[in-house]
């Protein structure tokens, strides 16, 4: 098999992967800075290190496919098309935020982009993804539901209920586990009797595979293939993407449960510089084009911060809105 990048995708798409991963990293690192400054408060879980999963996976999907995720989801929303400005404003708690400042970092949601939410109860998104898949099937829509979750979520009852249900009702759900080896400070081997997460689907007769989550191309290929399989067979599938988060679980975690040597080892596998090297080695980009892309990403993030800073706070009388439906509301306008 030809493993050269050009045999897999056109240059433009390859460069876009680099651009997106760079933007995600810039965005997350900027969030850390804004948190230190006190502009972002509350829980903040950063995605740095895992970019190849969000970027590769999203590229392997159809834009109509529903995506659901957990609370480490800024890049997933941004790669799906959410404006970094509006996401940053949400993190700042501003009125211009993606969810009017009511959700914050953990609850991004944009149905117009089929991005159906970040959920902060570990494993809470499983049954919702299953229900969305049922709705699409019932409505004869040609889309699948993609449910991202962490290695820590697989010991929730919801995971097992969701796998069983999706297979039983033959629903098009693609489960993607981002195995970064830790659920806060608990290593996967200390929480799962079978640490090979993809193997856990055998009790539900669901095919699965493991993929290198530090390789954007590998993720893209696996997800594209799996999404086509799910859509074609109308049945669930699971991908375990093996990856690593470079930062602590959240901003308050110094990460003492991991040895510096372990972290360094994984940083050598950083998906961004490694992909850059391949692009250069194969003559798809020069160091200059990539530097230019990095600069562009930095500008976008700077603009996002500026937008968030300058945006107004929500009005006080906004606090009681959106608890219940307004009179005459049209449901699911994005489905029209």
């Amino acid at each position: 098999m030809d493993t050269r990048l050009r045999a897999i995708l056109p240059d433009q798409q390859l460069l876009k992967f680099y651009e997106q991963m760079t933007l995600c990293r810039e965005f997350e690192e900027s969030c850390a800075e804004q948190y230190t400054k006190g502009h972002i408060t509350g829980f903040l879980h950063l995605y740095s290190g895992q970019e190849a999963v969000a970027v590769g996976a999203t590229a392997g999907l159809h834009p109509d496919d529903y995506i659901l995720s957990a609370y480490r989801e800024h890049p997933q929303a941004i790669v799906r098309g959410a404006d970094p400005k509006v996401v940053m404003a949400e993190l700042f708690g501003k009125a211009t935020g993606l969810c009017k400042g009511k959700g914050g970092s953990m609850h991004l949601f944009e149905p117009e982009l089929a991005f159906m939410g970040g959920y902060a109860i570990v494993g809470g998104q499983f049954p919702i993804a299953v229900g969305l898949a049922f709705a699409s099937k019932y409505r004869r829509e040609d889309r699948i539901s993609v449910c991202f979750f962490g290695d820590g979520a697989v010991n929730q009852g919801n995971f097992h209920e969701g796998l069983n249900w999706a297979r039983l009702w033959e629903l098009p759900v693609l489960f993607i586990c981002e195995n970064n080896f830790y659920g806060i400070g608990t290593e996967v081997r200390r929480s799962s009797a079978l640490a090979d997460i993809h193997k856990r689907t055998c009790g539900y007769d669901i095919p699965s595979e493991k993929v290198d989550g530090m390789d954007v191309i590998a993720v893209y290929q696996a997800v594209k293939h799996a999404a086509e399989w799910v859509s074609g067979h109308g049945r669930p599938y699971l991908i375990e993407a093996v990856t690593y988060r470079f930062r602590g679980h959240s901003m308050s975690d110094p990460g003492r449960y991991r040895s510096p040597a372990e972290v360094e080892l994984w940083k050598e596998r950083d998906p961004i510089p490694n992909f850059a090297r391949r692009l250069i080695d194969e003559g798809i980009a020069t160091e200059d084009t990539l530097a230019c892309m990095r600069a562009k990403a930095a500008v976008l993030v700077e603009e996002a911060v500026k937008f968030a800073e300058e945006s107004p706070w929500p009005e006080d009388d906004e606090v009681c809105n959106d608890v219940y439906a307004p009179v005459g509301e049209e449901v699911c306008p994005w489905l029209k």
Binding site: C99, L132, C332
Partner: protein
């Protein structure tokens, strides 16, 4: 008008709404082939087929979660919990998800869905199968809570709940399924959510109740009438939205109030109602508000003991007499 029981009234409402709107689907444990553990979904599989009426695994959290997803994806699911006691296994999806999604996503998603759950005590089903958990849901912003007492209200409220864009906890009392009453023939008959009904007019005291306790309160009022006490009975019909105006206006008129609920006494619905009356009607009250509610114990099996835990007509009568005698 036709006379029917609550089970048939609910069944009719489900059928009518499914005929009216193809986006209405129903699922739950044993709702399709077995036709529901209380037979509320009788005949639905035959009429609507497997795609719209579905048996699920015994996975309560997912029964609600999948309904949330379906509602987000353009359907109007009605999820049945076999009994409300099992809602406790689904509290994560009910409270952390169903109630919060609209708000935390900035109003961009509505959840037009209903969760039907039979409950209440009185059938010697012991501690784990006899609870009245309405307080739990009423305490949670983002949910509507319907608690019908009569067949007409059961039908009318369920139809409104299915058509509403808010998630509704629809709590049915197991002892009312066979209870009969007049139901309007009009297939478009609905009862709005959030509107209490004065089920009996009176001058001396207001009894505020809901679900099965409404019927007991009406019986108590009947008995008290013979003793010369005129009771007004307000049936809340929904606990959220709570129609405060109707019962507060009534109490202002009668100057006395007894609040009746089957749920446990401490921090129960009665506590909320009493506080609301004290806050708003203090100057009109001629006696302290009294609560009649469930005993603060896990429900015992033995019917000799169980009867002590659920408010009876005589408890309501005694509370009203007490209120009539007391004076500030």
């Amino acid at each position: 008008m036709a006379e029917m029981n609550c089970r048939d009234a609910l069944n009719l409402a489900l059928k009518e709404e499914m005929r009216r709107d193809p986006s209405v689907v129903i699922w739950g444990e044993d709702v399709a082939l077995y036709e529901g553990s209380f037979k509320v979904t009788r005949g639905l599989l035959a009429e609507f087929g497997e795609e719209r009426i579905k048996d699920t695994p015994i996975s309560e959290n997912s029964i609600i979660g999948a309904a949330i997803g379906a509602a987000m994806g353009g359907l109007r699911p009605v999820a049945e919990l076999m009994t409300v006691n099992f809602a406790l296994l689904a509290m994560d999806q009910i409270v952390n998800h169903m109630a919060k999604i609209r708000y935390m996503f900035g109003g961009k998603a509505g959840l037009p869905m209903v969760v039907r759950a039979p409950g209440g005590g009185g059938s010697q089903l012991a501690a784990q199968h006899s609870q009245s958990l309405e307080t739990y849901f009423m305490h949670c912003p983002g949910l509507y809570v319907a608690v019908p007492a009569t067949p007409a209200d059961a039908r009318g409220l369920l139809k409104s709940a299915i058509r509403d864009n808010n998630p509704v906890m629809f709590l049915e009392h197991e002892l009312l399924y066979n209870s009969r009453g007049e139901v309007p023939d009009d297939p478009e008959f609905t009862v709005p959510l959030g509107v209490a009904e004065i089920k009996r007019r009176g001058d001396d005291v207001t009894i505020v109740a809901y679900s099965r306790m409404t019927l007991l309160s009406l019986q108590a009022a009947e008995e008290l009438e013979k003793e010369g006490v005129s009771c007004e009975v307000v049936d809340l019909r929904t606990l959220a939205p709570l129609d405060r105006t109707t019962f507060l206006e009534s109490v202002k008129r009668t100057s006395r109030a007894v609040v009746v609920s089957e749920c446990c006494h401490t921090c129960g619905v009665g506590a909320e109602l009493a506080a609301c009356i004290f806050e708003n009607c203090f100057d009109s009250l001629t006696a302290p508000v009294r609560r009649v509610s469930g005993l603060d114990v896990p429900m015992p099996y033995s019917r000799r003991l169980e009867r002590l835990c659920i408010p009876r007509v005589e408890d309501i009568v005694a509370a009203v007499k007490n209120v009539m005698q007391q004076k500030y």
